[in-house]
Symmetry: C2
Subunit: 343 residues, 2 copies
């Protein structure tokens, strides 16, 4: 007996839209949010997919997130805007911000948009996919509530702030690097703890700041950044670009959804878009990216770490399969979403 069910994308969308409508979102914003989450599932980012529907709708119902947020786009210069999310759902705030950035990059060839007063906005890859489909390069990031100690520390003071760098390709299989800054996701440590298994050395520190392979000690401690001070530094850099620069909360000021589900989290995001048509030229850029992908993909495979794939390649392959075959959802999650969809 399988614990999962495969649901076609349009049925899953309808369920999520209904769930979000019952939690107070407008039809438009329910559709936007469903699309962002389902795109993540289609690409295999299940931790950032429809698994978030119960959590998002719970926060909307409690008033921790504002279902009728008046999102304000403040255009500071032809290529700069700050979006005040009015404590709306991050998926809605992020999507409006990306739309504003797309409007600006079309005119000026470059855009920075920062968001403040926002919340969890899902995975970055769906936003990157949208920008790449429109022909633009994207750099994007978001801050998050604290789960990591800065390198050298033993208290959680930075989020696992993901960074995404993406470039469009003519064949529609874009370069999409979407990475968080920890060695391993907290979810993996939770799973090991449940199973009573040890975790690999280097994933986490215990509450004293010492290395541990005990999953339960790790959960009381902190995630380790990948690459030591490099991942730690990148998490800080993303926090500056997504948080500090546009007046969002940052570091320990970002409120945690799980600790304070009724309070605004104050998350910040940013997007930078660039138009290759105004730099190398659209056709020349497309040809160069083809060559770029070809050089990478024809690298002979190593025995220990092969084969070579491009960032985002597997995720976009999964997405193409999901469009045809649907998305696999745990049965109990589907039950919850169906119940939320009934109101």
């Amino acid at each position: 007996m399988s614990n999962t069910e495969t649901v076609d994308v349009s049925s899953l969308t309808q369920l999520c839209v209904d769930a979000f409508r019952h939690a107070g979102l407008s039809q438009e914003n329910a559709q936007i949010s469903s699309r962002i989450l389902i795109e993540a599932d289609m690409m295999g980012f299940n931790t950032h997919g429809v698994v978030r529907v119960p959590e998002y709708t719970d926060r909307l119902r409690r008033g921790g997130v504002n279902p009728s947020a008046a999102i304000d786009v403040d255009r500071r210069a032809p290529s700069l805007a700050v979006v005040d999310g009015d404590n709306g759902l991050g998926t809605v705030v992020g999507s409006k911000a990306l739309e504003a950035a797309l409007g600006m990059v079309t005119e000026t060839g470059i855009a920075y948009v920062g968001c403040k007063n926002s919340n969890h906005f899902g995975a970055l890859a769906p936003y990157a996919l949208h920008a790449c489909n429109a022909g633009y390069l994207l750099l994007g990031g978001t801050n998050a509530s604290t789960t990591m100690a800065p390198w050298g520390g033993k208290e959680a003071r930075i989020g696992n702030n993901p960074l995404c760098i993406a470039a469009p390709c003519a064949d529609g299989a874009h370069f999409i690097l979407d990475m968080a800054m920890s060695v391993a996701a907290r979810g993996k440590i939770r799973a090991a703890d449940k199973a009573g298994s040890p975790i690999p050395e280097g994933w986490a520190l215990d509450s004293l700041g010492d290395s541990t392979t005990d999953a339960s000690e790790a959960l009381k401690g902190f995630l380790l950044p990948f690459g030591g001070y490099k991942g730690s530094g990148l998490a800080m850099a993303v926090d500056i670009l997504a948080g500090v620069l546009n007046g969002a909360r940052f570091l320990t000021d970002v409120s945690s959804w799980s600790d304070a589900p009724d309070a605004p989290s104050g998350v910040g995001h940013f997007f930078v878009l660039l138009d290759p048509g105004k730099l190398l030229g659209a056709d020349a850029f497309a040809a160069a990216m083809d060559r770029f992908k070809d050089i990478v993909l024809t690298t002979p495979s190593a025995q220990s770490t092969g084969p070579v794939v491009l960032p985002g390649q597997r995720e976009q392959q999964r997405r193409r399969t999901a469009i045809k075959d649907g998305v696999e959802i745990p049965r109990d999650l589907l039950d919850s979403i169906e119940q939320l969809a009934r109101g």
Copy 2:
């Protein structure tokens, strides 16, 4: 008996300027190049400091680098420019590009400048320091000749392309993250090989693509990216932003200085600048960065990895000491530079 000598900054500058003048650079470009290299030494990036003077001047003399390059700044839009370096010294091309970017960001609040037909341009931190002193955030990167296999591969097809993200702070101690994408620098492996010592697991693969702790096997193989596919993906992303987007060479097309000292290397660089004055506001940003630094620096220290420092903190402390006390230079390197300065 010491193998090093401490030289004050102005004497060292004079020596380097003379060396570059004898290799054909104009007074202005000799000064620019000396400043970039000496700033790196002052911050402790000795691998990217005046140790490069013999190599740079050798390439200038051979014609591998054009001493009288006609550097062209092609402004494509109010916030976009592509700089054709005419195979000039990277330090000169990069400095002119940063100057162009500073001009644009002052007007529009944002700038992207990409460089093509350039060469090795030293470390990123000196450029970041300059941008931060002017009050701007900087994202920058450069590609380089190939020293890493893409994650999963066993042939060198990407450079150890560094990325820098920097933000200005009111007290002059800026946030400057300047990182290359390998776990360890090739120079460290060369040193281990000379000393006959093994290298730590995880630094490099041998020529078959298998993990090795034998320094000599590692030198025949490839550097490993930090964080596996994450560092590998970041190196590719930097290559797209610094190389592909502005028509520079990229990946295996970048020519190696050591393999082909007479040929143009075709390196590309990029800078993105952002004006906090047009986003959060200059004063509010300064106050927020103070708070940011304070939260990070007051993190209790871990036993295994502490203490906590900010990216660029130690480097800028070293720089302040160097301004007072001078820079320590290996005696044999100083001899070479003195000889080059005499012509």
